[in-house]
Symmetry: C2
Subunit: 262 residues, 2 copies
């Protein structure tokens, strides 16, 4: 079992309750990555559903979580042939960490799109760079392998592009084949897009919703982040993930707080 599969593992306690052991390896400092928490909650919801694929997940981030034991409570709300729906909460030390609404369905692995928009432009993998952020020896940077498009990394040298954007190739350090849980991690793994508007620092996600559109093929994921409006201390970050076959597999939209410093 790889570290990510182990770290997002859940143990059923009965009546829609699950135990998880949150892994400090998916944190920056004391706070764990939101995508990692989301992936763990999604596993519990799927375990309670007749459907295998978490097609829509909306999360309210109530407070940060730390490493250690936690519990997931799943409440089934609709059991449908096409789509089932649940509410779920991640609880740690008696406090709700996040609330989620998850819709599950069964995707057709052979589906041929009626329409797919063009993939955004991206530098080739060999032209991309690591983030230079954090130590790659422990915590989140050690668990993932990310290669950033240098065209959106000039902010490191004081030359932000002026537009909210960030792009990277993504895989887990242990090269697990991507699945919906890896996608949940990848879509919240980018350096905040507002770095390219000159806003640096901690940018907590308030609300994040994502849609699983297809199951990803093995290989690198391409993660494209953009934003439309940075105003009043709030910004949106919109991520598309394309797989190694060139299929659009995930779309996410989050509302986050901009760091105070500029």
């Amino acid at each position: 079992m790889t570290r990510f599969a182990d770290a997002t593992g859940i143990v059923p306690l009965g009546e829609g309750r699950y135990r998880a052991e949150l892994d400090e390896g998916f944190g920056f400092g004391a706070a764990l990555n939101g995508g990692y928490l989301m992936a763990t909650v999604m596993r519990a919801v799927v375990a309670e559903s007749r459907h295998e694929h978490p097609v829509a997940t909306a999360v309210n981030f109530l407070r940060p979580a730390g490493p250690g034991p936690a519990e997931i409570v799943v409440e089934q709300r609709k059991d449908g042939k096409t789509a089932s729906m649940a509410r779920a909460t991640l609880v740690q030390d008696g406090k709700a960490i996040l609330d989620a609404q998850v819709t599950t369905g069964t995707l057709d692995l052979e589906a041929v799109p009626v329409y797919c928009g063009p993939a955004p432009a991206m530098a080739p993998l060999e032209a991309c760079q690591t983030s230079g952020r954090g130590s790659a020896e422990r915590g989140f940077p050690a668990r993932v392998d990310m290669r950033f498009d240098p065209a959106a990394m000039g902010w490191l040298d004081g030359r932000p592009t002026g537009r909210p954007e960030m792009r990277a190739y993504f895989r887990l350090a242990e090269h697990d084949d991507p699945d919906p849980y890896v996608l949940a991690l990848a879509l919240d793994a980018l350096i905040p897009v507002v770095s390219n508007t000159g806003i640096y620092g901690w940018s907590p996600t308030v609300e994040l919703t994502w849609h699983l559109r297809a199951l990803p093929a093995p290989g690198w994921l391409t993660v494209h982040g953009t934003g439309r409006l940075v105003s009043d201390g709030w910004f949106d970050e919109n991520v598309e993930i394309w797989d190694a076959r060139g299929t659009l597999v995930a779309q996410s939209h989050q509302l986050a707080r901009a760091a105070r410093g500029r």
Copy 2:
């Protein structure tokens, strides 16, 4: 009081419960518009919050609602200085109609954007047309005044553009000044974007999340809908609303089922 304000009105019953009287005037046939239901639920959440503005709302549509009495149950989940969070459910005849997660905050009416992306292209109002859909004498078409961009309306004559897209100017029939509740209605009021990929008919929303980015100025709203992927019976519909001042005021993202007929 205008009909929309009256139709989304709520009466407190205590302990986070509210009564609503759902108005058949905001329906197509037997099913009420999802944006109308969302607006009614948002009013109850805001009534329970110290903040006035519903900045993020995520909805799972469990089943259709009809006209008549309904109840809203609000559960406060976080009471924060910057953002408060709640879960809410709309109940009719003892059945849950929709589940919502709503984040409320207090927007600064004088905020000057750090960054705003370019507004999408749109035909001038005088070049736009009514939908030709339904009778304008009763039901939803009588409650709203919408003028569609003719460049995305060729599907009416068997000439869809081939891309998921739909654009319209929007105001209420009674010309109420837009507010967050009117935005909730407007962002779910377009003819489905997949009409332009040759898919016609009932396209039920499964999950819809939207973010309120600024309070709208009086006047017409411009509603831009696009999609990125139509596949496997699912499509995404992404809407931006710009106000009469040219401010991006709302962003929504929904996952919906495509009608079977092509």
